[in-house]
Symmetry: C3
Subunit: 339 residues, 3 copies
Amino acid sequence: MKASELAAVLEGTLEGGDVEIFACAGLEEARKGDLSFCKDPKHVRLVETTQASAVLLPHDWSLGAPCSIIRVADPNRACMQAAAIFAPPEPVRAPGVHPTAVIDPTATLAPGVHVGAYAVIEKGASIGEGAVVEAQVFIGENCRVGARTHIYPQVTLREGTVVGADCILHCGVRLGGDGYGFNNGKREDGTVYIEKIPQLGIVEIGDGVEIGSNTTIDRARIGRTYIGPMTKIDNLVQIGHNVKIKGYSGLIAQSGVAGSTEIGYGCLIWAQAGISGHIKIADGVQVGPQAGVPQSLDGSLKYVIGAPAMSMKDLAAITLAPKMIAKLKAELKEIKAKL
Amino acid sequence: MKASELAAVLEGTLEGGDVEIFACAGLEEARKGDLSFCKDPKHVRLVETTQASAVLLPHDWSLGAPCSIIRVADPNRACMQAAAIFAPPEPVRAPGVHPTAVIDPTATLAPGVHVGAYAVIEKGASIGEGAVVEAQVFIGENCRVGARTHIYPQVTLREGTVVGADCILHCGVRLGGDGYGFNNGKREDGTVYIEKIPQLGIVEIGDGVEIGSNTTIDRARIGRTYIGPMTKIDNLVQIGHNVKIKGYSGLIAQSGVAGSTEIGYGCLIWAQAGISGHIKIADGVQVGPQAGVPQSLDGSLKYVIGAPAMSMKDLAAITLAPKMIAKLKAELKEIKAKL
Amino acid sequence: MKASELAAVLEGTLEGGDVEIFACAGLEEARKGDLSFCKDPKHVRLVETTQASAVLLPHDWSLGAPCSIIRVADPNRACMQAAAIFAPPEPVRAPGVHPTAVIDPTATLAPGVHVGAYAVIEKGASIGEGAVVEAQVFIGENCRVGARTHIYPQVTLREGTVVGADCILHCGVRLGGDGYGFNNGKREDGTVYIEKIPQLGIVEIGDGVEIGSNTTIDRARIGRTYIGPMTKIDNLVQIGHNVKIKGYSGLIAQSGVAGSTEIGYGCLIWAQAGISGHIKIADGVQVGPQAGVPQSLDGSLKYVIGAPAMSMKDLAAITLAPKMIAKLKAELKEIKAKL
């Protein structure tokens, strides 16, 4: 798209060459053919060194640019608009079932459902109105998928899994795997045994939940592993059996929650954090990146960090210990000299 | 199922309304239609506030309940029994090959094997008696799968992988990927090179091993990456090339073992722990959650925690350092005042 | 293969029985039928206790072995040669499209492309000359895959993903999933909202990149998530949206990089390390295993470890704090006694 056409669409004015634009990108990331943006003169250095072919700048920008300029009222907003123009068009997943999908005759598909190539839907499963089941998805027996839920390719739902309405399951999500549960010990003759504990429950996902690529959520030993409404889970997260997440919480990439733990409303679990089993995290608590939470958090701390998880202040004190020790050592030396 | 019918099956007596029961759940998790259980009066609060429609209680329970009661001899046992009744029926994977499975004519299937839709089994692979290969599984050339092993949907076994008998591989397990191995350095002209080291070995899994969803185990550079019998591996675990796990060990979710490390019998590696390459963990050692093990553990410590991994006592001492420092500081102040 | 035949191929001389050899393995891992190797007398203990049927030893080895010996000039090199002989033959992925592959008529396949069973290639996608798309792969709309790139089974490329030439994508890799991006807050009526931020960009992978099993790389919010040439990524790694990795870097298993962070040339991110969003890691920096990097690293430290990431020396000082405190305490006691 010509920069001049873009300027027209974005209600801006073009200065400089009418270059061809193919994509949007941040100032540093941008290269030839990209449109970038800047609204604040404090980032002028990044503008000066950008490889972009054109840059969106506010009307009162007086610092120039090494490329074409499109002046607009709000560069951020204009860039989002332009990005939507250049975005790869979202694939259309029209209602209909691909002829290669293997769907058990006892499964029920509501109107408007899309099922992609090589998807497998087993006995008794039901798919809600307008849901999208992309290529190569596996939906086990008696699963229920809510209306308008979008399941990306190569997701697996083991038998009995329940997914609410308006959910998004990204590629490689695994719902309903057996939890890690074994009885072990020694027999009378001294030999060791390890016996699998049957995992008889299910996974139940509330409405509006989004689950990132390759995240795994185990089925309950008894009852349900429950992910409450509007919870947003990132990639490669592990949720153990019988975990209960009340809702409206976020779990960032590679974090993990061990079995039977309950997470309140509005919590945020940062990347690579780990939460022990059989504990409770109160509503609104944030668990910092890589934190390890060995026991319940009652909300008296709103943010914990470190392992075992503690306040920012307590972690800082540990980090500063060597400095404090050096100081004490010096003082001791002084005292000794005096004695 | 009516509560009265359930009471009959569980050899208990019903008190209160003959409600309809659909599932089992813990006291806190339970909601309308659920059966819950409690055996110990110390949890009476949870009974008082449960949303369950009925609760299993011992014969001598005198504290009442806000719902129907089924009195039984052993509430825990009765609940497990009831859970088995309400559990989603385990899908039947009858012997037979789905017509859409693509199986190379040189592959051999023992009697009683089940192969699901869109599974791919390549040249020279062999599947043992009664094994289950579910839908969309990929089994590469010359793989061997033992008798009664159950492979859930969307597992991939790269060429040459050997899996023992009575194993369970959950959805998304990846066996036999190339290990991370590169030679790099600078050429005489100053340019950098990074060359792939061929990964010529295989993965071999012993009998009775269970591997969780989306766990990855790399093929050996030479020889075998070996997972010994009865080892139980949770979800999202990473096992590097040439690792040897002797057997009867557990690896909890998101833990990782780097290349060429040996783990003894009966070890337990807790969640998110990391074990360096080329070291040995002695039989029976436990590595705590998020621990980082940089060198061999000879078993003189039975449990390690922290990074670098140490005893519980040593980690506690570090955590307590700020408190100790404050105490020393106060004492110093006192001494100074005296001088 | 007979040990004598092997000796001939490896230009060595056989001592002891002409045993049958099936595979190569390290001294400790080896069992009956294996060939092992040792070049250094300091590992004589491992030779003495090996279960191998034959061992490669240097010509001047005078310490014997409990099995057949093949003397060679360079035991390491000879073992690599032998390993190549015994390696499971690499499956041939000849040019051609499996009849079950579902390929949109608008997709373009260059000469020499291999497409496996049940692969799905959508509208407008293009696959470069000699590329291998294995079974059950999903390639979304308008993706571009470079020449000679090898995509193992069950990889998914969401729409618009660009992969360079000579790349390797291992099983279960997920490229182009939506990044974790939500706007949330409270409405005027006090209710909470969580809104998805459209992720309008793509993932772009440079030439010569290798990506390990079940690794996930998110599409950009705007522009590109960029993995520069010759970068090597291990298994179960998470790369957030708009991350830029310049090139020639390594990311070891289970590490994670949060959104919009830039990683320089020649960096090495060790296993389970976590790097915060919106920061920069200078060229050549190494981030140690399990390290947590909260802010930019300008290269003044070449290696960081711990969380928050620091120098080895600083981490050692924290670990040694209890010892230092005990020493100070003893000195204080002495002083007190003197007063």
